[in-house]
Each structure stands twice: as structure tokens, then as C-alpha cells.
């Protein structure tokens, strides 16, 4: 008689068994899974409260299997502040895109970070507004064509793409600030560790944690899913360097 089969890969408990609305090849699915795995691994699902943004992941609450609030555009860190201050025993995270976090929500993210709110921010940077149909984002690369930068992003007109992880790492309060990418299995494994580390530090009440995940938007970029991963590796990782910009114990700003 053989031993019962032991699964080596299955859906995390922190995700619901439900098809998503995301486009084929979009890396939101991977990012969702990394967050869910971290909650599972650390046993945090039943204490977790997520905050969904406005953007493609506005419906994230349909996919995660934990409590959720849905914020106004850019305000997720303010909601997270209210939740965590009201119920300090919960594990609070925001899941935000680049338009939400780095444009309309710039004040909320910077000040939540600066207050050292004991929350985790998962920042999905794919250099474009996906939900509204591929408009220019604050992180759109120089020369990148979008529906509102049809001739390519011109820094003379609209400035340069904002590097959020570096910006946040100049603040004193945040304890963990990192940028990872979801373009290859190796990179995903490193991103998985980073997301887990952020939630571990929150569970230990260390302070504000920020994980930027370089992602894709095959539909908005006008590329196939495979081409999008290649483009991300080549272009995104060139302008947005990966790394840990701040780790626990580094009280001063980490960006040198």
C-alpha cells in the first residue's frame, strides 16, 4: 500500500478559487500569489486586512481570501493607517499600482511611510495605467509610447519616471524598502522572499515595509506576454534597479 499522495504545489489558502479578470500574461496573478503565500507561510491570513487600490487590481478583494477594504484612488495608505491604528492586532497591507501610488496617492504613501505606519505596501510598477486603457504613468519610461504619450514620454515636457523605492528609502521611519521583479522564475523566487520578509517584519511590529514589484502590462505595452517579460527585463530593470534599499537597523535614509 502506497503512502497518500502529498501535494507539492497547490493554491494558497489566502487565495480564493476563482478566475481573475486580469489579461493573459499579466503578472498580477504572480504578485497576488506571492502575497498569499507570505500570509499562509506566516500564519497571518486570519489577522490580515488588505486594502485594494483603484486600477486593475481594484477587484483584488475578489481573489484574496481575507478581509479587505476598497479605497478611493491613491488613498489606500490612509485607509491602512486608520485600520492599523484602530486595530493594531491586524496585519494590514495595501496593494497599489503606479498611478495609484506614485501619482494621485503620492502624499498618502510618503506620509504613511514617514509616520512609520506598521503596514506593508505592495507596489506594482508596470509603467502604465492598465485599467483605463494604457495611459502614461508617473513611472512610464522615457520614450515609452502610451495612449497619452503617443510620441513617447518626453522628459522635457513631463519629467522623468519616479523611482519610488529610492524615494521612500530616504525617509527615516521605514524599516524595509526593496524593489524586485517578476520577469523570470529566479526573480520571482527572490521577490517571494522579499514579500515574506516585509510581512514578517510587520508581524514583529517593526514598522513600515515597502515592496516594489516590477511587473508587466502586455495589453498596454502592445506586446505578447513573453515579449513583455523580455521588455521588462531589458528596459524596466535598466531604469529601476533591483535591490534592498533599506533593511532593519538602517535608521538613516538608505539611498546613498
Amino acid at each position: 500500500m502506497s503512502a497518500p499522495a502529498k501535494p507539492i504545489f497547490q493554491k494558497p489558502e489566502s487565495l480564493r478559487d476563482r478566475p481573475t479578470h486580469y489579461c493573459p500574461g499579466c503578472t498580477h496573478g504572480i504578485a497576488h500569489r506571492l502575497v498569499a503565500e507570505a500570509l499562509d507561510d506566516l500564519g497571518l491570513r486570519e489577522r490580515a486586512v488588505g486594502v485594494a487600490p483603484v486600477g486593475c487590481s481594484v477587484l483584488a478583494y475578489n481573489y484574496f481570501n481575507c478581509d479587505f477594504q476598497e479605497a478611493a484612488h491613491g488613498r489606500a495608505p490612509a485607509l491602512a493607517t486608520g485600520i492599523k491604528r484602530g486595530r493594531p492586532d491586524t496585519i494590514v497591507f495595501t496593494y497599489q499600482g503606479d498611478g495609484d501610488l506614485a501619482s494621485i496617492g503620492m502624499a498618502e504613501i510618503i506620509h504613511a511611510a514617514n509616520r512609520g505606519e506598521k503596514i506593508t505596501v505592495v507596489f506594482i510598477n508596470n509603467a502604465i495605467y492598465g485599467m483605463t486603457g494604457g495611459q502614461m504613468a508617473p513611472t512610464t519610461l522615457v520614450g515609452q509610447k502610451t495612449t497619452t504619450s503617443p510620441y513617447g514620454r518626453d522628459p522635457e515636457q513631463i519629467g522623468w519616471p519616479i523611482r519610488m523605492a529610492e524615494l521612500i528609502s530616504t525617509l527615516t521611519a521605514p524599516v524595509y524598502v526593496t524593489r524586485q521583479a517578476l520577469y523570470t522564475p529566479q526573480l520571482v523566487r527572490k521577490a517571494r522572499k522579499a514579500v515574506r520578509e516585509a510581512f514578517r517584519l510587520q508581524a514583529e511590529e517593526k514598522g513600515f515595509t515597502f515592496v516594489e514589484l516590477l511587473s508587466t502590462c502586455p495589453t498596454g505595452w502592445g506586446l505578447t506576454p513573453v515579449e513583455a517579460l523580455e521588455w521588462g527585463k531589458e528596459k524596466m530593470m535598466d531604469y529601476f534597479p533591483l535591490g534592498e534599499f533599506k533593511k532593519p537597523g538602517e535608521e538613516e535614509g538608505g539611498a546613498k
Binding site: A71, I83, G86
Partner: protein, 354 residues
């Protein structure tokens, strides 16, 4: 029970604490800074949390998060700051969250001035932000009443799962009056919908997004039923000497006190004058206005610190049966009793003293 002399703004803060509020998020703006200052001093003493937000926009969204987590929470601001909060108030109304918001109204539009006004009536009683919703609006006329209404506001917010606005003005906030704090335990409301972590239950979702138009229509109808229930169960109004009145003044908050003084002088002149003082501006005490007898009441004079906002509701609910006149000062100017007397005599066609 002891009576103590207290500034309106500080009394509002203490009333919130007595009502079980332990969380306050806000941003400084004149003329209500004594409220956040009081809360920043008092909340740590009672195990609460005061956070100064980076803006009114952020502060109201902190209220969203905190109320969504099932915790009593309040903010205070003044007119330009309340305008900035309208986005969040709309989302809070949509998500059906109980919050209390204090507006110590100052003159507008724009940056306006910092003197007392009642020119946010439209904004307060018509929802204020986008969408099909109303906030409940309470208008105190004294510091004592501000205390009682702030305490009640938390219960009403929980009863209806709806934002409750306390509409004061710079005078209510700045004035010192004797107050007594009612000794009562904060009411407890079960909040099984709150995001407290999903241990032992299915996940809760707090949101205002309903992409299916039929679902959103159903949701909005449900909100509407709530507003209708407010009209049935929680209209508050004070009436003075309506019996036999030939002239009825209508005023709320600070201007109602101006009217009370004017009434004394009018009575000395033999004018039979009464007063309707709405305490809830939404729901408006429409039945009180409708019940006035056109055969006895010559006209209604609405007095406001604006150029005519509540007067539209008075006209709406009078339905043309009784003439409605208006007198108001604006920009931070407070009407005087003498001006009100003058207006009444003018409309009565009597000799007006110069």
C-alpha cells in the same frame, strides 16, 4: 453632575471621548483648531490615538479605514477642509460606514474668511460629494447642545451606518458656556461587517464599488430607505410660541439665538412671533413647516448667515401656501436682532424705526 465652563471646541472633543470615541484623524484649519489640539492632549490619556493627517483628503480616508475596522472615529474641520473631505465622505456613505464629522463653518467661497458662517448648508444637506446619498446633519445652537449632539451623533452614525455631520460655526466653537456632560455609557453596536481579521468566519469586504448597474441601483435604493427611516425616526426640531403666531422665524444654530432676542423685542411691539429651529438639517423638519396654518401665519422669515440656502428647503416644504421671506448676512457677518426686527416690521408693513 457638575456644570463647568468650557469652550465649545473643547466641549465637542470631550463629548466625543464620553461617547467612546478613541480615534481622531484631522488636519489643522481655523477656526476649529482647539478640537484637534484637545484630542491630541486627551486621547493618549484614555488609551486612544490621535493622528494628524497630511491633509483633509488623507484624514477622511483614515476615518474610512478605522470605521471600516469597526471602531468609533471622528474628525473635525472647517469649510475649505470639509470640501476636501467630500471625496472620502461619498465613499464612506457608499460603503455605509459610521463616522462623525464636525464642521465649524466659516465664510466662503474659496479660502473665504475665518469668521462664522452658515454657507455650507447646501453642501451639508445635499450629500456634498458625488452620488446618490445624504449625510445626517445636526446643528447645535449652544455649547451644551453641541455636547449632546456630538454624543448622539456616534449612536446615530452606528444606528444608520452613515456619516453624521455636526454643523456648527466659529461662534459655537469659540464661545465659552457652562456645560454638563450626561453620565451615560456609550451604546454598543454589533459590527459583524467590520474588517477585524476573518478568524472563524468568511472574509468581510468594505467597499463602495458595484460595477453591475442593477446591483448599484439596488444598493442606492437601500440607502434611500435608510434616509426615509431617518425622516420617520430621527427628525429633531425646537419650536417656540408657534401657537397663535402671525409671523414665524426659521433659523438654526447661532442665528436662532439672534432670532430669540429679536422675538422678545417684537413681542414688546405687539407682534405675535414664533420660531422654528431645525436641529436636524437633514432630515429637515418638513412636517413642522407643513403644519403651519396659512390662515394664521402671514409669512415665514428665514434668517441665515448666508445669502439664502436653508430658505430653499423652507419654500420647498411650505409648497407656496405661505409667503417665505429671507434675511441673511454673509462672509462672517452675524445678523443683529435689530436687523431681524426691522425685517419683520417691514414685511408686516409697519412703521420702521430708523
Amino acid at each position: 453632575m457638575t456644570r463647568i465652563l468650557m469652550k465649545g471646541a473643547e466641549a465637542v472633543g470631550e463629548a466625543a471621548i464620553k461617547a467612546g470615541c478613541r480615534h481622531f484623524f484631522g488636519y489643522p484649519i481655523t477656526p476649529q483648531n482647539e478640537i484637534p489640539e484637545y484630542m491630541s492632549r486627551r486621547l493618549p490619556q484614555v488609551g486612544g490615538t490621535y493622528v494628524q493627517g497630511e491633509s483633509e483628503v488623507a484624514s477622511i480616508n483614515m476615518l474610512f479605514g478605522c470605521a471600516g475596522a469597526g471602531v468609533r472615529v471622528m474628525t473635525s474641520s472647517s469649510s475649505p477642509g470639509i470640501s476636501l473631505m467630500q471625496e472620502g465622505i461619498s465613499y464612506i456613505a457608499g460603503a455605509e460606514l459610521p463616522v462623525v464629522i464636525i464642521n465649524m463653518v466659516r465664510g466662503g467661497p474659496g479660502l473665504g474668511g475665518i469668521q462664522p458662517a452658515q454657507s455650507d448648508y447646501f453642501q451639508a444637506t445635499r450629500g456634498g460629494g458625488h452620488g446618490d446619498y445624504f449625510t445626517m446633519v445636526l446643528a447645535p445652537a449652544t455649547v451644551q447642545e453641541a455636547v449632546e449632539l456630538v454624543m448622539d451623533a456616534f449612536d446615530l452614525a452606528d444606528k444608520y451606518r452613515n456619516p453624521v455631520l455636526v454643523l456648527g460655526d466659529g461662534i459655537i466653537g469659540q464661545m465659552m458656556e457652562p456645560v454638563e456632560f450626561p453620565e451615560k455609557e456609550p451604546a454598543r453596536f454589533e459590527k459583524p461587517w467590520a474588517t477585524t481579521g476573518c478568524k472563524g468566519r468568511e472574509p468581510n469586504i468594505v467597499k463602495s464599488l458595484l460595477l453591475d448597474p442593477y446591483a448599484l441601483e439596488e444598493h442606492n435604493r437601500k440607502l434611500q430607505q435608510k434616509y426615509e427611516r431617518m425622516k420617520r425616526e430621527d427628525v429633531r426640531v425646537e419650536t417656540v410660541d408657534l401657537e397663535g403666531a402671525e409671523v414665524v422665524l426659521c433659523a438654526y444654530g447661532t442665528t436662532s439665538r439672534v432670532c430669540r432676542t429679536a422675538m422678545e423685542r417684537l413681542k414688546e411691539k405687539g407682534v405675535r412671533v414664533g420660531l422654528i429651529r431645525p436641529i436636524t438639517l437633514f432630515p429637515f423638519p418638513e412636517k413642522t413647516v407643513q403644519a403651519l396654518d396659512p390662515k394664521k401665519v402671514k409669512f415665514i422669515l428665514t434668517v441665515e448667515m448666508s445669502l439664502g440656502q436653508m430658505v430653499q428647503d423652507v419654500k420647498l416644504f411650505t409648497e407656496g401656501r405661505i409667503p417665505v421671506h429671507f434675511f441673511g448676512r454673509t462672509g462672517g457677518v452675524v445678523p443683529t436682532p435689530q436687523e431681524v426686527v426691522h425685517e419683520v416690521l417691514k414685511h408686516l408693513g409697519k412703521e420702521v424705526e430708523k
